[in-house]
């Protein structure tokens, strides 16, 4: 039994099956690569896991408990975090403020403490600020803490998105194209960050088009196309799988 298990999950949009009867599992401590051509249903799958959509049929289990159909904030509270494509951030806030907003669930004080500015309120605010600093340091972006998110270089926007997700102390992190638009040096640094996140005890599902990064990082890879699982295995198996090559490059007789 995996940490996160999808059992014949299906999601239709009108007549289109974006995700079609998909089974997969994430083991604890693993980096699972999720690849597939554009429109294959990868991001829809993330939206299903994180609760933005709920599946038409099938179940999603996290630690053997059903999470499919629950609200996103409930799913976040059991230890699932995600980043979004094209760096969805609080653009008008500074990097530090972004991470502090991410700490929302770590703050336990009630309304009375907030209105009264009680001692526990001040203590928690200080702790959250320190923790937010630590996270920015972890992602090597402490120098940018007072920069507005919209003014950050693209690579740092990706990192900030990860910092926000990590501030919720997740068990599983879903990353949607963290390498998009990066130059090779940035890619190498980001690969180091993903490895460090795994070392800190977080299991990762990674959607990525950068094959170099995905092959280098993943313990296992799942390939999906037209919402169905096309192949699954360790990176070497995937690289030599004829179905996968066909999905990406087309069949040889197509060109005849």
């Amino acid at each position: 039994m995996g940490l996160l298990t999808l059992e014949s999950v299906t999601k239709h949009f009108g007549g289109l099956a974006a995700v079609n009867c998909l089974n997969m599992a994430l083991e604890e401590g693993e980096i699972l690569g999720l690849v597939g051509p554009n429109g294959a249903g990868k991001t829809t799958l993330f939206n299903l896991i994180s609760g933005i959509y709920s599946p038409n049929s099938g179940t999603i289990l996290f630690k053997n408990k059903v999470i499919s159909g629950k609200k996103p904030h409930k799913i976040a509270s059991v230890g699932l975090a995600r980043t979004f494509q094209i760096s969805t951030l609080y653009k008008k806030c500074t990097a530090l403020e972004n991470v502090i907003i991410g700490h929302h669930r770590q703050i336990r004080v009630g309304l009375w403490d907030i209105l009264w500015r009680s001692r526990s309120f001040n203590k928690e605010e200080r702790e959250v600020e320190r923790s937010a600093h630590d996270l920015l340091t972890f992602l090597n972006m402490e120098d940018f803490k007072n920069t507005l998110a919209k003014n950050l270089p693209l690579g740092y926007q990706h990192r900030l998105a990860i910092a926000i997700a990590l501030s919720n102390k997740p068990i599983v992190l879903l990353m949607d194209e963290p390498f998009a638009g990066m130059v090779p040096e940035e890619t190498i640094e980001m690969m180091g960050i993903v490895r460090r996140i795994r070392e800190s005890g977080v299991s990762v599902i990674l959607i990525e088009h950068d094959m170099h990064a995905v092959m280098g990082l993943s313990d296992r890879i799942v390939v999906i196309n037209y919402g169905r699982k096309l192949a699954e295995g360790i990176p070497e198996e995937i690289q030599n799988n004829n179905d996968v090559i066909e999905a990406y490059l087309g069949r040889q007789d197509d060109f005849v």
Binding site: G51, H73, Y90, K91, C93, H104, R117, L148
Partner: protein, 330 residues
């Protein structure tokens, strides 16, 4: 969201100076000018209304029914005091509670929709409330409203003193204490996890959901808080003017309160305060009649949106680093 650090001594000095100005100097200066005193009281009401509407706008929703909540507060207190002869000091919080309850009831369905649709839904609610005030003549006095609402009951502490609220000056102090209380509540809510959660919704709602923020809860919280404080202002206004009438609680007034936040600038805490002061004093200094007030508000909105999209305070905040030759926005 950032706060400038001041030394504790400087902070206390500023508080004491502000207290002396508000509690001693201003009342002394306007003691013989009842008209100016009246403007000051109205300004304080408007500041609270501007703050409460801005608190909702931080979540990305634009409500158009604030005046209706004022009306609910005003009529509730009026009926409790005049029909049931309850004390003002009981009816005041109860009317706020009533506003909050209606806010919850209206917020529950309407806050699920966004943008212009939410604005239209709250507009419809506001107009329905106004029509109910007009149509239910037995209870609300119809189009003529209810006149002769008594001033708040005097507070008497045996053998020491009695504070009456019949005079304008005593009402100034009542409004001042209420405004300071409201400022404190809204400031502390804004700079806490609640304020941060509310603001995050406007910018990236899906992200907020995925970091565990119950966005519906915070939208309801902001809307209900706005309803409560609007109702409380409505109560004070009714007992100050000694009159309630449906025409005060229509769409035009809701837009006027919205204008305070838009023109002052919603991003900074002081924005709606500056907006309320500016827009309450401006028509008075121009000495125009009430019907022209609407025109002034309209022109002010157009000019602000064209030339200062972040409002007066946002404009000044952007301008200052340029003047000082600092980096514009890192």
């Amino acid at each position: 969201m950032s706060k400038k650090a001041l030394s504790p001594v400087a902070k206390i000095a500023i508080y004491i100076a502000a207290a002396i100005i508000l509690f001693v100097l201003i009342p002394a200066a306007v003691k013989d000018q009842p008209y100016f005193l009246h403007i000051l009281i109205i300004t304080m009401f408007h500041i609270v209304l501007g703050l409460s509407v801005n608190f909702v706008m931080r979540t990305g929703q634009v409500p158009l029914c604030q005046a209706a909540f004022m009306g609910i507060g005003a009529y509730t207190s009026t009926l409790l005091v005049m029909k049931l002869h309850w004390s003002f000091w009981v009816s005041f919080p109860l009317a706020g509670f009533m506003g909050g309850a209606v806010g919850l009831l209206i917020g529950w369905p309407t806050l699920r929709i966004k943008g212009i649709h939410f604005a239209m839904a709250t507009f419809a609610f506001g107009e329905i409330m106004r029509l109910i005030f007009i149509a239910w003549v037995d209870l609300f006095g119809g189009a003529n409203g209810v006149a002769g609402i008594p001033a708040p009951d005097p507070i008497s502490i045996p053998f020491l003193f009695t504070i009456g609220f019949k005079s304008k000056m005593s009402f100034y102090y009542l409004a001042l204490v209420f405004m300071i209380f409201s400022l404190l509540v809204f400031y502390r809510l804004t700079y806490s996890k609640i304020g941060r959660a509310c603001q995050s919704i406007e910018e990236a709602e899906d992200l907020s959901k995925c970091i565990g923020i119950n966005t519906m809860y915070y939208k309801m919280f902001a809307f209900t808080t706005c309803a409560i404080f609007s109702a409380l202002v409505g109560v004070l206004d009714a007992h100050y003017m000694h009159f309630v009438g449906p025409q005060q609680y229509g769409f035009v007034n809701s837009v006027a309160y919205l204008t305070f936040a838009i023109i002052g600038g919603g991003a900074l805490f002081v924005g709606p305060i500056i907006g309320a002061i500016f827009l309450t004093f401006l028509p008075e200094f121009l000495r125009v009649t009430e019907s022209w007030e609407v025109v002034i508000y309209g022109v002010a909105i157009m000019l602000t949106i064209l030339f200062m999209p972040k409002g007066i305070t946002g404009f000044l905040a952007d301008l200052r680093p340029k003047l000082l030759g600092l980096k514009q926005e890192v």
